[in-house]
């Protein structure tokens, strides 16, 4: 019989389930934990697809991905003006409401977006009450169109009619142009799922006052480099999604001479609106991001995500080089903080087109830049940095212009690779607001949502078929 002498001291390396490492650590013994798990949760069909996409097809995919990443990184989006949605957005009809997220029929639209769409119908003058608006929508007399299919993106539960003003953002390097509505600000506003008279009045204000006066300002400033401001804002604590305070201030400073020079009796109203809207720059950042993804998505054969969008019912993504949507149920926002008196029971699922920011290196990708975001992901800057680091594991590149002071000015991760997402089971983190699910209260909290894995898995399998 062979006698094996056991060591007097045991030091453990644990692979897989952390609970074994925890148990050893709790007993005061040294342990190193390796966070290993089977790729794609061990789904053999998916593993086979991954083997092909990481194997014989990898060189071509990696080449395409490098080009997509280059386009996301090197386009220079500039704000060139403001136009009416019905004129500027290609393919939008006279009786069309453009909304966030994937295409959806009226009967499946979630409560906050229903209210926002009805407010948009009323602001267009097509109905004078929510019931009247609802009747038109139920009868199909007003068309619903996803903003993403018309070169546009809108945040939260935004919906805009053809008369509403939109930012026009050019990406001269890519020859693309993208649009976003003017941010509606805080309070009783449709993008938070409100349809009160005050909410409709805010839309009218944007159309009658903010749009025309901002257009006049922009005529004076000339094109404004959006990422020139965003990269500075990142150094000042913005993630450019949940927090755009600093960048908004930089933007107001950029247009201040023209703002003061406006010859309008309503100039002060615009000033008041801008002073009270710390998320004003959000929509500009989104339009800039969309102008980049419109360029990037023209690349064939890539495994990078170029659309990520939610309407509060469905969560949809698309990959570069394909028009095919991969859709699953929109999830609740997991890491969240709620206003007093509210909680997950009242929270609507994740909503809005703003996840486009996470594709190009902002929002959750830039969490490490923002103490404000840290509060939602654990409370410390280490937690915020960990959020960015996790996105880094599923990204193929780092921005050369969006830099993180807390990571020694490393670029933010960008270019989400569906192969890495499915292999590692890590989905993009999206910094977002949370709306009331049913009663039109508006915003009830904010948090960091995790994209659902199912649509990424389907996209991966479709890519494998497409490249076969």
């Amino acid at each position: 019989m062979t006698v094996i002498a056991l060591p007097g001291e045991i030091e453990v390396v644990n692979l897989g389930l952390p609970l074994f490492a925890d148990a050893i650590g709790d007993q005061g013994r040294p342990v190193v934990h390796v966070d290993w798990r089977p790729p794609a949760d061990g789904d053999l069909t998916v593993v086979a697809a991954l083997s092909r996409l990481y194997g014989k097809r990898a060189a071509a995919i990696d080449e395409a991905n490098a080009e997509v990443a280059r386009r996301l990184d090197q386009g220079i989006p500039v704000l060139v003006g403001i136009g009416a949605a019905g004129v500027a957005l290609p393919g939008v009809g006279e009786r069309t409401i453009v909304h966030c997220g994937p295409r959806i029929n009226w009967d499946r639209v979630c409560d906050p977006l229903r209210r926002s769409v009805r407010a948009a119908v009323m602001a267009e003058g097509w109905a004078d009450s929510p019931d009247g608006a609802d009747a038109l929508l139920t009868a199909g007399e007003v068309e619903l169109e996803p903003a993403n299919l018309h070169q546009a993106v809108v945040p939260m539960a935004s919906a805009i009619g053809p008369s509403m003003p939109v930012f026009v953002v050019d990406n001269p390097q890519g020859g693309t142009c993208a649009y976003s509505a003017i941010n509606q600000g805080p309070g009783e506003v449709p993008w938070f799922g409100r349809e009160t008279p005050a909410a409709v009045e805010r839309l009218v204000f944007l159309r009658e006052v903010a749009g025309p006066l901002l257009a006049e300002c922009l005529a004076g400033t000339g094109p404004i480099d959006i990422f020139g401001l965003a990269s500075q804002g990142l150094q000042m604590g913005d993630d450019l999604h949940m927090r755009t305070q600093a960048t908004t201030n930089l933007f107001v400073r950029a247009i201040l001479p023209q703002l003061l020079g406006l010859d309008s009796p309503r100039r002060a109203e615009l000033g008041t609106f801008l002073a009270g809207n710390h998320l004003f720059f959000l929509n500009l950042a989104m339009a800039a991001a969309k102008s980049l993804t419109l360029w990037a998505e023209q690349v064939e054969g890539s495994s990078l995500v170029t659309t990520m969008s939610r309407n509060g019912t469905d969560y949809g993504i698309r990959l570069s080089g394909s028009d095919e949507w991969f859709i699953t149920a929109s999830p609740p926002v997991g890491n969240a903080m709620y206003y007093s008196g509210f909680g997950p029971d009242q929270a609507a699922p994740d909503i809005g087109d703003s996840a486009v920011l996470e594709l190009i290196g902002l929002g959750g990708s830039a969490a490490a830049a923002s103490p404000a975001v840290a509060a939602f992901v654990g409370g410390t800057m280490a937690d915020a940095i960990a959020t960015t680091e996790e996105v880094d594991r599923i990204a193929v590149a780092r921005s050369t212009r969006l830099k993180l002071p807390t990571l020694d000015y490393r670029g933010t991760p960008m270019g989400i690779d569906v192969r890495k997402v499915v292999e590692l089971g890590i989905t993009p983190k999206v910094n977002t607001g949370i709306l009331h699910a049913t009663d039109g209260t508006g915003q009830v909290g904010a948090g960091v949502a995790e994209a659902p894995i199912e649509c990424f898995r389907e996209a991966l399998l479709a890519l494998d078929r497409r490249l076969a």
Binding site: L17, P18, L19, D41, P331, G334, N335, G343, E450, I453
Partner: protein, 253 residues
Amino acid sequence: MLELGAGAEAVLAAGGRGSVTAVFRNAAYLRLPAGLFALTTDDVPSGPLHARGALPIQRLVAGDPVTVTASHLYAGGVTVDLAGATVWRGPLPSAGELAAGAGVALEVLVGAGPSALADAAFEPRLAGAVAHLDRGDLAGVVDALAGLGPGLTPAGDDTLAGILLVTRARLGPAAEPALVEQAQRARTNDIAGAFMAWAARGQSIEPVHRFLTASAGQDAACATAALADLLRFGHSSGADLAFGLRLAIAAIP
């Protein structure tokens, strides 16, 4: 419809925020401020830590955030409606019934497969545990078996759970605090520890309770069927639990 074991009910009633600890084919363990419990599919037996239902377990990933409110559980992308959940508690025979059925139980348990502790490597510790059990020294049994052997819940812990459950049935509810204290002395992982603590409170997985009540009723056929179901539980946990039942029943004075 969701079915909650007594332990899962207690953890969920306390609410709060936590995370998913581990995900398996048909069960996911979630850690909340009041402790651990498992979300399981319908094909997993009822158990003290189980919240059973038609649940999309595979949508969960270890590390997913968990929030529990009065009416819902939110785990990663999964939402579970807690309203209307039923509570399951496994029945235990009385001390007298247990003693009366000991012969049938031991006869049926002969058909149980070998415990993972049957490996020669564990023989010295196992012999020590049996000696402690014969002397009524439960602390000695815990020291000998806790954390011993293979498995997510180590074989020694599953065996201990069987011993604790039979001991609880034999000594009645008054013994629970002392038995729970012994279970909590075991140096093992949290999942195994939680199962042992609930065994000390008289709750284990459903086939165990069916086996004990059938044995107490002298119903060998029903006890045999229950044992067969028990042996299908886990990789070797069912056999290890059955081994613990056998040791404890054989030690009944």
